[in-house]
């Protein structure tokens, strides 16, 4: 049986966006029709819960459960909001961009369904400023959806109404954190908020708000249209559905592939990315974007799902890998990543703004041939210092992941930098 690729199969190969007509012909907006015709909002939540859909933005929180936290009924605070988190800024991750540029209506339908399930009144797509093409296409698609009666008042002649607003972010990594996103949307500094209260209870402007990643949302129309049993059958693991996997780095064919959840790292790298470029050897991989721990050769047969990657000592994250080869300096790569995270620290909590900057300086010095033996201890200290719970949000603990695993798997490289007072790759 040919593998099903519900999220991407309708995306034209010529780089154009799928039109409204094309989307409808491919079965688009059928999920919405079904939901509005025959399902209560709770039934939509239930369907998504049963499908076992987990958030694709990195944390893997069950989507249906997230929706169920939103207070329902007539006496709850209004307006309620749903937000598509399209602030894709994780280094090495570009899956949401592909989904939005290729099939903007799919996201719009997913977002409308999320709004219906939580009885939201206003939907936002919070999109990264650099995604110009996706912005243009989404703006056009939102207008088309309005004209076609998928948005606005009395959607598809039902009682359900929804306005959708495309918000172009000024851009910061922190905006990807859902509460940072909410602050940014309110026009404040994109600092994270304290939780509780969680956004489903008090989010945007203090009102119940659901924030979902783009890839998460595009799953929803298919789950509703075809049912959870079908959806569960797409997967090879206990985490259901398909996943957009990606690979970047010095592989032969970097790119994105929609594959069954639970496809192994080896299969993705060797069959889809075409293996390493000529003359290069695989040394390690960040399986789920820049803020995940390195995995190495021994982990190549790990299935890429939430549980298995975690067992191997890393996180599925966004499912888009960055591959390290044997001609690239692991210290330099780590230094680059930590530089990014330090630069993106919002400056709110001390461990993050101070610890990441210190680590950045130590790594840069090491690369420049000024490393000292004690630096390894200082870096190890930082990885513990930045542990989850010690910081205000997940940025710094995420940043510590590539650092701690690099120290574990590539310790010799760090020591060589210090011993030889230079970067051996330069």
């Amino acid at each position: 049986m040919a593998q099903e690729k519900p999220l991407t199969e309708a995306i034209p190969l010529d780089g154009q966006a799928l039109s409204l007509r094309g989307y409808e012909q491919a079965g688009g907006y059928q999920g919405l029709r079904r939901a509005l015709r025959e399902m209560t909002p709770q039934a939509v939540q239930e369907e998504v819960k049963k499908a076992g859909l987990r958030g694709r933005g990195g944390a893997g929180f069950p989507t249906g459960m997230k929706w169920s936290f939103v207070p329902m009924g007539s006496d709850v605070p209004r307006p309620k909001y749903v937000i598509a988190n399209a602030d894709e800024m994780e280094p090495g991750t570009f899956k949401d961009r592909y989904l939005m540029e290729g099939n903007p209506h799919q996201l719009i339908e997913g977002l409308i369904l999320a709004a219906y399930a939580t009885q939201a009144d206003v939907a936002f797509i919070f999109i990264r400023g650099e995604y110009r093409l996706a912005q243009e296409r989404l703006a056009r698609a939102i207008a088309e959806a309005h004209t076609a009666g998928y948005l606005g008042k009395n959607i598809l002649k039902s009682d359900f109404a929804l306005e959708m607003i495309l918000h172009v972010s000024a851009g910061r990594y922190m905006c990807g954190e859902e509460t940072g996103l909410l602050n940014a949307l309110e026009g404040k500094r994109a600092n994270p908020r304290s939780k509780p209260p969680f956004p489903p209870v008090a989010g945007l402007w203090g009102k119940p708000t659901t924030v979902n990643n783009v890839e998460t949302l595009v799953n929803v129309p298919h789950i509703i249209a075809k049912g959870f049993t079908w959806y569960q059958g797409l997967s090879r693991s206990k985490d259901y559905g398909t996943k957009i996997y990606g690979a970047s780095g010095k592989v032969k064919r970097p790119g994105l592939w929609e594959l069954p959840m639970g496809t192994t790292i080896r299969e993705i790298l060797e069959e889809h990315a075409g293996g390493m470029r000529e003359g290069l050897r695989f040394r390690g991989v960040l399986p789920g974007g820049a803020s995940t721990d390195f995995l190495v050769e021994e982990h190549l047969d790990v299935p890429m799902d939430f549980l298995e990657v975690q067992k191997a000592g890393s996180r599925l994250g966004t499912g888009t890998m960055i591959v390290l080869d044997d001609r690239t300096c692991p210290v330099g790569m780590t230094s680059n990543l930590i530089h990014f995270f330090a630069q993106e620290s919002c400056g709110w909590c001390t461990p993050c703004w101070s610890g990441l900057n210190w680590a950045k300086q130590i790594l840069a010095a090491m690369e420049a041939g000024r490393g000292k033996p004690v630096d390894i201890d200082k870096l190890s200290f930082q990885t513990k210092f930045l542990a989850p719970g010690n910081t205000f949000c997940a940025l710094a603990p995420g940043a510590a992941e590539p650092l701690q695993s690099a120290l574990k798997y590539f310790r010799e490289d760090f020591e060589r930098h210090i011993r030889e007072q230079r970067c051996p790759w330069k």
Binding site: R189, A202, P351
Partner: protein, 885 residues
């Protein structure tokens, strides 16, 4: 209450509080930065990390931030856990990466929370070796020095400035380790409470720029508990002195009054004490004489009692006023305030004594949940009260947070759920005020119309309150909205005062408060007083100043106590009063027009150099204490005026209590001079004060004897008991390991609550009856052809007399103007602001630049209160205004 376990030992804790609050209240030393008792928790700095265990069996535990964790029953935590200890040291290490380590040249050194916390965590070795990040500093005006390199990014400054004080021009810029706390460009910080940043900032980013002019470390300051004398609110302050120079003012915590904060006038006005205009030697007919000679002259001039006229002062202590009254006799004792203002003050006292509504302390104002302000621009007339009023709008929306089970101490979370929802807050004032941004309704009206609104609100609450004749339907509707909100509130508050110079406004406020009290919950009535002891003087009893003019004559000796009559009376009346008298004796701090007319001029000690009692607008009597030992010929006014049998302040107070029963309680405002802690006096100097034997060594190698203070239980040196004295005698806050002002934690019964030994002050006014409704309702304001009703406009900087002699405040004082609304200005043919207008004031024509106040009602004009040529005018007053062509 529940039980929590800290390092294995059980403690009682209120589950409504967070663990940092609980630990500090229990006396533990747990370091923190971003948390502030008035600003609550945000979890930014991560300094208060502790270990929390899931149960008795859990040995591993997890690091949590004490400030972000509720003290739920059975919580088990450890402060001493090695992971927590190491993490806290790591936080300091991180903060110090770019801190300049410039303590020896930093003004904060020696009272720096960052120093204290660094020592507390044990971080003492710098492992970092890279370049520090640096910033460009800003000129933020005359009050504050800015040194951003010292910043540790705790966010307290912007949280206080923006969220607590309502300021807009201080912000956090940029991200990462380069967050910059400043303005978008150099310039004077606009908020009236900016000076608090000196104490809010845990290190030396914001320091007192006036202190810098004559810098002294905290440990070298002689300090004394005092009361601010620059408005009627009565904030508690700590004065600091060295080498006979008053060096600075800091906040003195009083949970009922000013809490943790002061206004900028109160903080920076102190420099008037050091002014070159100070009168420091007695003068007889312009010739300097010795103190002894002056005393002899004074005895001589005042020995014939029937010819004495005493003019008291609302800015002098009760003791000084009482001494003068005793000297001249009650019949010839005058308030030093002209009759209109005096009637307002005495009426206000009367309302508070006879009416049902209680006058609130600032803490009660902060916790009121619906507010109506009638006729006051509080930020300019009683600034610190405005800060409390600003907090009141948070009370009702707190219910939203409670409903969502967000702990009220979790500040950012509460603000997120509350967003911009505010409790009911209504302002009726003739022009825009600095509290308008939190008001649901602002009504701009001439004084008579403001009063009519008040009367209408009262009538809406209680039909027995007199109705307003000819009430416009629009105003009735507004009154109904206000009345409904006040009626629904649990702790409604009405605020009014004398700024409009309108009895009707004050009476209408009294009617609203009375109506509310009859309705359900007891309402509060906050009445502002123009000066620091207006109520004290009124309780003492005196005649209005105008009446003195008739009594003066060739056989009269007029004694003027700390008062410039040319600010109180029209020029010709003041001239008549002083000019026709045979002799004029003036007791004063600073040279002024009145002192220039003195035949005998006696240098009077200021608040910083004397002990005395002031009665605030709340009706709270509070004692202030001298921070200067004996000052050559400068003496306390009561001492110049004293009866022979009085040798110390206690004697004056005991006579005062006997003579004026309603002031009997003032004796209890502070312990007497006989009071001892552990058999010793309370030291004004920290035990680390240096230079005792060296300070005067250039004059004599003999160590001077410690100066004696016969009037108080305080000693002038470091000798004394190192124990916590009664609140009224607390000379400064210091505790081992806590050198900064945040050491106040160690003196409170619980964090944020009263001092362990009691908050200073005794209330003298109790509402004792139901009061009567006032029935004199003015008809609505009708503008006149070619004439304007001129009202005075209060200014935080420039209106109050003494603070203008403080250089930093003088630079921010208002520039003279005449304000009109735009259409009135247009009708006079004005094209631009700043063009000159002519107006007759104080008997002469004056030119003033025009200022457009868009909200001023048509037919009303405003001039700043404090213009020297308008002194003595009785406002409001009708005047012609012409454009200067």
């Amino acid at each position: 209450m529940g039980t929590i376990y800290i390092d294995g030992k059980p403690y009682e804790a209120d589950p409504q509080n967070n663990l940092l609050h609980v630990c500090l209240s229990l006396g533990f030393d747990l370091p923190y930065f971003c948390w502030h008792p008035a600003l609550n928790s945000v979890g930014a700095c991560r300094q208060c990390a502790i270990k929390q265990f899931k149960g008795e069996q859990d040995k591993k535990g997890k690091l949590v931030m004490a400030c972000m964790t509720p003290a739920s029953p059975d919580t088990r935590i450890s402060l001493l856990d090695p992971d927590a200890v190491a993490f806290r040291a790591g936080i300091i290490e991180g903060m110090m990466l770019s801190h300049p380590h410039d303590c020896p040249v930093c003004d904060e050194g020696g009272e720096c929370h960052l120093q204290d916390m660094t020592v507390m965590t044990g971080h003492d070795y710098r492992r970092a070796e890279f370049q520090k990040r640096t910033f460009r500093n800003q000129d933020l005006g005359p009050f504050l020095n800015h040194e951003m390199n010292r910043c540790i990014q705790c966010y307290r400054c912007v949280r206080f400035y923006r969220q607590y004080a309502g300021g807009k021009d201080l912000n956090a810029f940029s991200i990462n380790n380069t967050v910059y706390f400043g303005r978008n460009e150099d310039g004077v910080l606009e908020n009236e409470f900016a000076g608090n940043l000196v104490e809010v900032c845990p290190t030396g980013v914001f320091t007192d720029r006036t202190l810098k002019q004559h810098y002294t470390r905290k440990w070298d300051l002689r300090m004394a508990p005092s009361v601010c004398g620059h408005c009627g609110v009565g904030c508690n302050v700590t004065l600091g002195e060295r080498y006979s120079l008053l060096r600075r003012v800091v906040n003195r915590f009083n949970s009922e009054v000013n809490g943790y904060f002061l206004c900028d006038r109160g903080r920076f006005a102190y420099e008037f004490v050091n002014s070159p205009n100070r009168i420091r030697t007695p003068q007889l007919d312009g010739e300097a004489i010795s103190g002894e000679a002056a005393e002899w002259e004074f005895q001589n001039l005042t020995s014939s009692r029937d010819r004495l006229i005493g003019i008291g002062s609302p800015r002098a202590s009760l003791e000084a006023n009482f001494a003068l009254r005793q000297l001249v006799g009650a019949d010839r004792f005058f308030a030093g305030v002209e009759s209109k203002e005096w009637t307002l003050i005495t009426t206000m006292i009367d309302i508070l004594k006879r009416g049902p509504a209680r006058s609130p302390a600032l803490n009660e104002i902060e916790h009121s949940d619906a507010v109506l302000i009638l006729g006051e621009d509080v930020t300019n007339s009683a600034p610190r009260m405005a800060l409390s009023l600003r907090q009141s709008v948070r009370q009702q929306p707190m219910e939203i947070a409670k409903k969502l089970q967000v702990p009220l101490w979790m500040d950012d979370a509460v603000r997120e759920v509350v967003q911009d929802q505010r409790g009911p807050f209504f302002i009726s004032a003739p022009f825009a005020t600095r509290l308008d941004d939190i008001a649901a309704i602002t009504y701009r009206a001439a004084p008579d119309d403001a009063a009519r609104l008040g009367f209408a609100v009262a009538h809406e609450i209680d039909a027995n309150a007199p109705p307003v004749p000819g009430l416009h339907e629009k105003m009735r509707a507004m009154a109904r909205v206000i009345a409904d909100a006040l009626k629904k509130a649990k702790r409604p508050l009405v605020v009014s005062g004398p700024s409009c110079r309108s009895l009707a406004v004050v009476e209408s406020a009294a009617n609203v408060a009375k109506a509310l009290c009859g309705f359900s919950q007891p309402a509060m009535l906050g009445l502002l007083t123009p000066e620091c002891n207006s109520f004290g003087l009124a309780l003492l009893g005196a005649h209005a100043l105008d009446e003195a003019v008739a009594l003066t004559g060739k056989d009269a000796t007029v004694i003027v106590l700390e008062n410039d009559l040319y600010r109180r009376l029209p020029l010709e009346k003041a001239d008549a009063l002083l000019g026709s008298a045979a002799r004029v004796i003036v007791l004063e701090h600073l040279s002024n027009t009145t002192s220039a007319r003195a035949s005998l001029l006696l240098p009077a000690a200021t608040i910083a150099e004397s002990d005395g009692t002031l009665v605030s607008n709340e009706g709270r009597a509070q004692r202030y204490f001298s921070v200067f030992p004996h000052q050559a010929e400068v003496r306390e006014s009561w001492r110049w005026l004293r009866k022979p049998q009085w040798s110390s302040l206690d004697d004056v107070l005991s006579d005062l209590a006997k003579e004026v029963p309603q002031l009997a309680a003032v004796v209890n405002a502070a312990p007497s001079s006989k009071f001892r802690v552990d058999g010793a006096k309370v030291p004004r100097e920290p035990h680390r004060a240096s230079g005792r034997t060296a300070m005067t060594a250039n004059l004599t190698v003999v160590e001077p004897k410690p100066p004696v203070d016969p009037d108080s239980a305080l000693s002038y040196t470091m000798e004394g008991a190192p124990l916590q004295p009664p609140g009224a005698l607390q000379p400064f806050f210091w505790s081992p390991g806590w050198n900064s002002i945040q050491s106040v934690n160690k003196f409170q019964s619980e964090i944020g609550a009263s001092l362990r030994t009691g908050d200073p002050g005794v209330r003298l006014i109790k509402p004792s009856g139901k009061g009567e409704y006032f029935t004199q309702i003015p008809s609505h304001f009708v503008r006149r052809e070619r004439e304007w009703l001129v009202i005075p406009i209060e200014h935080i900087f420039g209106t109050e007399e003494l603070s203008q002699h403080a250089p930093a405040i003088a630079t921010l004082a208002f520039k003279p103007y005449l304000a009109l609304n735009a259409s009135d200005a247009g009708s006079l043919g004005l094209a631009n602001e700043g063009e000159e207008l002519e107006i007759e004031l104080g008997g002469a024509k004056h030119r003033l630049p025009a200022k457009i106040l868009p909200d001023l009602p048509a037919g009303v004009a405003g001039i700043p209160n404090g213009l020297d040529f308008a002194f003595g005018e009785v406002f409001p007053t009708w005047r012609r205004i012409e454009r200067v062509s």
